[in-house]
């Protein structure tokens, strides 16, 4: 019966495979620590919560990235959107720090959405240009050094502190997740995002305001990157140059490992969450094993290809 269900729900297959891989990674890591240190560090709740806290930043970026990928577009500007939001938030400080950070993200998303939705520039190249412009603005603003301004207390509380043993960043991630799921499942906007990802002409002919939907999706992505920047600045107590750069490709990888089609139109949010957890745990287990950077990169690439091949295994040949 399980096989039948798997065949029926194509969307679930990647999530199940990725979930199984997470268990496998945890078991392999635990076997390693048991052999070398005689402890099962990886399975302690404290360790797992710590990893999830680190994962929350990637998770929030991936949530926004997923919305754009569902459209069939991509947002390569998240790296410097995140950095710019963090720098602006710490520069402004006070009660307005967080709204300013998210606002920077919204503004970057607005520019991206206008370029992609209204000017019809391919998103790959327009968001790349936005990334370069934001980087240029930040270099001009900071002089190329790490800014001296520090994160506000509220940012630190959200990014680094814990409530009842659970990191606050996790609550933020959960809140963002609930919002994204509601938008995707329960609103016209969400339906339109999937529709445009499947076939833009059809969506347009059905009377959907495709331009505004694209604009909205990029603004969601920008806002998520901005929020992640605010939290990350809180976590590391300040903003620094290029802090968002290590988040772009893992965010895309997380969405794709979660089973979303990189060409748009299909994918479930739960998959993205599983993808984020998988990437974060893989990184952490590899660093526990003291794997050199070279090996890490190779494993990272091999895992992405292997996962995608595994997902394909269940589908009939098409295209």
């Amino acid at each position: 019966m399980t096989a039948l269900r798997l065949a029926l729900r194509a969307d679930d297959r990647p999530i199940l495979i990725a979930g199984a891989s997470i268990v496998l990674i945890l078991l392999a890591g635990t076997a390693y620590t048991m052999a070398t240190q005689g402890t099962a560090t990886l399975l302690s709740p404290n360790y797992l919560l710590q990893q999830l806290q680190v994962g929350a930043f990637l998770g929030i970026v991936s949530a926004g990235m997923m919305v754009v990928i569902l459209l069939g577009h991509i947002d390569l500007s998240v790296s410097w959107t995140l950095t710019a939001a963090a720098m602006m938030a710490t520069a402004v400080g006070g009660p307005w720090a967080i709204p300013v950070g998210v606002g920077v993200g919204l503004a970057a998303g607005l520019a991206n959405g206008l370029g992609v939705g209204y000017l019809r520039v391919p998103s790959m190249i327009f968001t790349l240009g936005m990334d370069a412009v934001l980087r240029g603005l930040m270099v001009a603003h900071t002089g190329g050094f790490a800014p001296q301004t520090a994160a506000t207390d509220l940012m630190r509380a959200l990014g680094a502190e814990r409530t009842a043993g659970v990191p606050n960043a996790l609550f933020v991630w959960a809140a963002v997740s609930v919002l994204i799921v509601l938008v995707l499942k329960r609103t016209v906007l969400g339906r339109a995002i999937y529709a445009i990802g499947n076939r833009e002409q059809a969506a347009y002919l059905s009377g959907m305001p495709t331009r505004r939907v694209i604009l909205a999706a990029f603004m969601i992505s920008g806002a998520c990157a901005g929020l992640a920047g605010v939290l990350l600045a809180g976590y590391s107590t300040k903003a620094y140059q290029g802090m968002g750069v290590p988040y772009v490709l893992p965010a895309i990888a997380a969405v794709v490992i979660g089973g979303a089609n990189i060409l748009g139109g299909s994918g479930r949010y739960a998959g993205t969450v599983v993808g984020v957890v998988l990437i974060v745990l893989l990184n952490s287990v590899l660093s526990i094993m003291q794997m050199p950077e070279a090996g890490r990169q190779i494993i990272y690439g091999a895992v992405i290809i292997a996962m995608l091949l595994a997902y394909r295994g269940g589908k009939l040949a098409h295209t």
Partner: protein, 367 residues
């Protein structure tokens, strides 16, 4: 889009009237509008640069500029071919870096060893591209995400070979390849030490420029005329039409990625010869990949595939590079340079957007 599928030699060989030929010229002009635009933009910018440069119009400046542009030009050519398919290759910068590190181990010693080393470098670039092609074709994974993964693997191999920057390459080769043709001939004792009269007309040319022309004329142009080469354009125009026409789709896709790997390998080899070392620099690899996409777009190749070509991308690269050369002569504050670069990039890619504002039938936009 599909008008570039058939090269000129596929047209009937019957004698044509002068008027008809004139019509052909207009057609060729219209088809290559974006290429000509890139060339004109480059010529304009480069003229301005030389006029403003205190040592403008000298071989010295030319050689320096050519050296700085060659690697990106090769990587941009590499990027163009998967883009013609309608795909994207995010691994070109990583493959370039990997070959760069391989070269820093192999291209040294006796002339025979150096020759073998160069061959090994070019072969490993092509092999990396071949693997990309196989993952895309037989794994049925979209190129953008497949090459994202193989890029990580290529960087891993590069780091394995060069955990820290270093290595050493043949010094003569370094000197000969990064200077003018006259210096090249002198180094290897060709053409009477570079003083032969027949060499004089080209003696002032930088070697990288000659190399670039050779790659285009000896590799790209013959390849484009083959069935496989034309199939690449056909796939980019309409994959289902290409399939229905019985064209060798899989072979063309694998060939496209292999050729991309080869071009990226040439770029990596040159970078190693130029810097006389190998460096597994992750941010640098990313920057090359991103700049290659920008070069392709500025060079007039459509990101949806089917039209354009590597020659345009070379000029796209030159436009990008001249803009950064310009910062040196026009005294732009260093802190504003990245912003300026970004704005130029954004403006360049938005130029094509004029079409979106002009179009009559909105449905045309979605193709």
């Amino acid at each position: 889009m599909s008008d570039q599928v058939l090269p000129a030699d596929a047209a009937p060989a019957a004698p044509r009237s002068g008027r008809r030929r004139g019509g052909d010229w207009l057609l060729v002009l219209r088809q290559n509008g974006s290429l000509l635009f890139a060339i004109a933009l480059f010529a304009l910018l480069y003229l301005g640069y030389h006029l403003a440069h205190p040592r403008g119009f000298t071989t010295q400046v030319l050689v320096q500029n050519a050296n700085e542009a060659f690697t990106l030009a090769m990587v941009a050519m590499a990027q163009t071919i998967p883009v013609l398919l309608g795909g994207l290759d995010l691994s070109v910068g990583a493959v370039m870096t990997m070959v760069n590190c391989i070269a820093s181990h192999l291209v040294i010693g006796s002339p025979g060893q150096i020759a073998l080393g160069i061959l090994a470098c070019l072969a490993s670039g092509a092999l990396a591209g071949f693997v990309n092609g196989c993952v895309v074709v037989y794994g049925r994974i979209p190129p953008i995400i497949a090459t994202l993964a193989t890029a990580a693997i290529a960087i891993g191999v590069a780091l394995l070979l060069r955990p820290t920057p270093g290595g050493k390459l043949d010094e003569d080769l370094n000197w000969a390849m990064t200077n003018s043709v006259a210096d090249f001939a002198e180094t290897f004792g060709l053409a009477d030490g570079g003083k032969a009269p027949w060499l004089a007309p080209v003696a002032w040319l930088p070697v990288p420029v000659v190399l670039l022309v050779l790659v285009v004329v000896l590799v790209w142009l013959p390849f484009r005329r083959t069935v496989t080469g034309r199939t690449i354009y056909a796939i980019g125009s309409s994959e289902s039409a290409a399939y229905m026409s019985g064209l060798p789709l899989n072979r063309a896709k694998i060939a496209a990625f292999t050729l991309a790997g080869f071009f990226a390998g040439v770029g990596g080899l040159f970078l190693a010869i130029q810097t006389s070392s190998g460096n597994a620099d992750l941010p640098q690899a990313g920057a090359y990949t991103l700049n290659s996409i920008a070069s392709v777009v500025i060079g007039g190749t459509s990101l949806v595939g089917g039209s354009g070509g590597p020659v345009g991308s070379i000029f796209g690269t030159l436009v990008l590079r001249v803009i950064s050369f310009g910062f040196r002569v026009f005294d732009i504050p260093p802190l504003l340079q990245p912003l300026f670069e970004g704005l130029v990039l954004l403006a360049a890619v938005s130029l094509g957007a004029a079409r979106a504002l002009r179009v009559r039938n909105t449905l045309d936009l979605f193709r």
